[in-house]
């Protein structure tokens, strides 16, 4: 980002650009996901039209909803731990912003370029658990408490398969830097065929499936939405929230879905890149400058595909029970991802 589009930018300019870029990278996908998937796709799957009044085909519905939430009274229960109650939604949203910081959008278009980007991403993604647990505990509501505890148990159980699924990618790419992982996929080849590069969704398919299931659980989307469970816990840890604070939880839910889909597309679908063989590129340095503009669009497209998968499953499946979910995580996902790591390591040494 020091020389974005061949223009030298001073440090303060870079900082402003990063903050604005971070807001865009979180809120734009969140809004798009809510409109395209939650409002429209879900409605079409359920043989109804969805919002049609606000704007053409209801496209301004989200703004109407935000306006409604902003007008609502900010209710806090009498017995609530007020300071923690107010802090919780912000912590949940904060983890989303921290997460988007490592997603690369182009050869030079990134916010931060950590050497241990994968490690960082997996670490900050669990901060949202703290926010959820705080919300559940401080609400002074039994349903919220049950929801918060369920969320904590579930998110901890699903951190492990997620980490182990990503291990395969790290072994194959030989780096934890997300930028390098993107290059390794697009510059790579499968048995000498480099027409599609080497997207790890093909070679690490088991890892991809385990990662997406873990993401589904991490996002508390159905079939793993026990912490929210509107038919039994009446929205769990969100029960006591209203108005602006509920809006933050709501944005956080869908923004995190988008950011996790971006991370998954970076790890498994080749991120911002197209297969380098199409344009005769070989390394990072030979990538054309226009990829800085095309890259974000490519990431966005791949994100929409993966979010479609997440939402499709969310709208179709019933909910697991908490103990069934734990059993699934510990008895199926973790052994499968461990086996995946072993096979990957053996093949890595063999080839």
């Amino acid at each position: 980002m020091h020389s974005l589009l061949a223009v030298e930018i001073p440090y303060w300019g870079q900082s402003v650009l990063r903050v604005l870029g971070g807001l865009v990278a979180v809120l734009l996908p969140a809004g798009t996901i809510v409109y395209v998937f939650l409002f429209k796709m879900m409605s079409f799957m359920q043989s109804r039209l969805g919002p049609m009044e606000a704007g053409p085909y209801g496209s301004m519905q989200l703004f109407a909803e935000v306006g409604k939430w902003l007008q609502k009274e900010d209710i806090q229960p009498d017995n609530a731990d007020k300071r923690i109650f107010r802090m919780a939604p912000i912590i949940v949203l904060m983890s989303t912003f921290l997460l988007v910081a490592v997603v690369p959008f182009g050869p030079d278009a990134w916010f931060t370029n950590f050497e241990t980007g994968v490690f960082y991403a997996l670490a900050v993604s669990s901060i949202s658990v703290l926010g959820i647990l705080m919300a559940g505990w401080s609400s002074a509501n039994k349903y919220s408490l049950l929801g918060g505890l369920r969320a904590a148990g579930q998110l901890i159980a699903y951190e492990l398969p997620m980490v182990l699924a990503v291990m395969g990618v790290v072994i194959q790419a030989g780096t934890m830097n997300l930028q390098q992982i993107v290059v390794a996929q697009n510059a790579g080849s499968i048995f000498g065929t480099d027409i599609v590069g080497n997207p790890y969704v093909l070679t690490q398919f088991v890892g991809f499936v385990v990662f997406m299931i873990a993401v589904q659980a991490e996002l508390t989307q159905a079939p793993f939405d026990m912490p929210i469970a509107e038919s039994e816990l009446v929205s769990g840890y969100m029960t006591e929230y209203s108005g602006f604070r509920f809006l933050i939880f709501f944005i956080g839910e869908f923004a995190t879905a988008g950011v996790f889909a971006m991370i998954a597309s970076t790890l498994f679908l080749g991120g911002w890149g197209v297969p380098f063989s199409w344009f005769g590129w070989t390394t990072m340095d030979s990538v054309a400058n226009w990829m800085n503009v095309a890259g974000p669009l490519i990431v966005f497209t791949k994100m929409m595909v993966l979010t479609f998968l997440i939402m499709w499953i969310r709208f179709s499946y019933p909910r697991f029970r908490e103990d069934q979910l734990q059993r699934f995580a510990w008895k199926v996902l973790i052994p499968v991802s461990l086996a995946n790591i072993m096979v990957t390591a053996v093949l890595k040494v063999a080839f």
Binding site: Q46, S47, E232, R321
Partner: protein
């Protein structure tokens, strides 16, 4: 937890549950060692899983239920008392609202009881149309259950399909009776009106749509592994316990008791004119209850089809006096309603209105088993079990 202390003298039905509780005893021992505190959770009166205002008081240890007690009466409307100050024809508009999803089926047993007291019999055409509307209200009721089941278990899509296809049935009921939810169409000695023109052909088309809906729900919900793992083996009611608690309808048949009032009792209605199968299931768990209801919806569409083919000609109203005075006497009539056995014990002292009416509604007995059934289950299973027992609050509280 008395049965844990005294497993030898436990009642027969308790033994089946004993193994379930014993399998989770390790959890309980851990909790004793850690000295964890219990928690009393009030599920309801306002809760999305209680279809109205039922309150379940559950004592929890973690997520496990130690004991649970249903507390009903939050929506008691005093229909038994209200009928005493109304004339016989006026009562139907009240009792329509007992099971509000299958309203027409509520009117039938009361009108049959009144007819029994007066000694009049409705003409055959009226009986056939009554039976058709009865089965249509069963379809409207149970198809909503099939969709609602998905919502209770976290799948949000099936309920919209249920609402979509139930609408066709409600339109049929509306075009025949004038009321979508509360027809108030049954009269002593017959029906208010004959069927409108073209209604029979339209109904046949809709019955085909409803059979498609059943196939759709079966493949979307019943074939789903998560759905099966959530319902199979959850809330098992053994055969003898189901009979002890006076369950009826699909809840009883799912426990393997082959008992259906449509087939097993003499009735002026037209059920004995058609050929239908009474479905039972040996398991008695939540899945069995849902499955039996699905098959019943299918069977009801077939009953309607057969009745439409053989509907006799003639008047729809017998000769009854303008001002109805019911002679002194007592009568008990019950029918197989969508939720189970529903009956009216009507006492008349020769006035224009009943002296006393006792309403036996199915849901009240069906939820009486919940304290026995909810011991030892997890909180999400409370919702599964309540959903599969399928009660309507108006039917509990009357």
């Amino acid at each position: 937890m008395t049965i844990l202390n005294d497993p030898v003298n436990a009642k027969l039905g308790d033994r089946a549950q004993l193994s379930y509780i014993a399998s989770q005893a390790a959890d309980a021992r851990l909790n004793v060692e850690l000295e964890t505190e219990g928690m009393t959770l009030n599920i309801g009166p306002q809760h999305p899983a209680t279809h109205g205002t039922l309150r379940i008081i559950a004592r929890l240890d973690g997520e496990q239920v130690l004991w649970a007690e249903p507390s009903c009466g939050y929506m008691h409307r005093g229909y038994e008392k209200l009928t005493e100050v109304r004339s016989f024809p006026q009562v139907t508009s009240l009792i329509n609202r007992i099971d509000w999803l299958g309203s027409f089926a509520n009117e039938v047993p009361f009108i049959l009881a009144a007819e029994k007291l007066m000694g009049v019999e409705a003409p055959p055409r009226a009986q056939w149309i009554r039976t058709i509307l009865f089965e249509l209200s069963r379809i409207a009721n149970v198809s909503l259950f099939l969709g609602d089941l998905g919502v209770q278990l976290g799948a949000i899509t099936p309920v919209f399909m249920a609402f979509r296809d139930r609408e066709y049935v409600l339109n049929l009921i509306e075009s025949a009776t004038g009321g979508r939810f509360h027809p108030n169409f049954d009269r002593i000695g017959g029906l208010k009106d004959d069927l409108p023109a073209g209604w029979i052909d339209e109904t046949k088309v809709v019955m085909k749509k409803l059979r498609n809906f059943c196939d759709e729900i079966e493949s979307l919900l019943f074939g789903n592994e998560i759905f099966q793992s959530r319902t199979r083996g959850i809330g098992v009611i053994p055969r003898d316990v189901a009979m002890q608690y006076g369950l009826s309808g699909a809840n009883l048949r799912a426990s393997g008791v082959d008992w259906d009032l449509r087939r097993d009792q003499e009735s002026p209605m037209a059920w004995n004119k058609v050929d239908f199968k009474v479905w039972t299931h040996p398991d008695g768990d939540s899945f069995a209850r849902c499955w039996v209801r699905l098959q019943e919806t299918r069977e009801a569409t077939k009953i309607v089809d057969q009745l439409l083919d053989g509907i006799p000609a003639g008047p729809v109203m017998a000769k009854v006096p303008k001002i109805i005075k019911v002679p002194e006497g007592e009568a008990w009539v019950s029918t197989e309603n969508p939720l189970g056995e529903m009956g009216y014990y009507v006492v008349s002292r020769g006035d224009s209105g009943p002296f006393r009416v006792k309403i036996r509604s199915a849901s009240f007995n069906n939820i009486s088993i919940t304290p026995w059934l909810l011991r030892g289950v997890y909180v999400p299973d409370i919702i599964t079990i309540l959903a599969s027992l399928y009660f309507i609050l108006g039917d509990i509280d009357r």
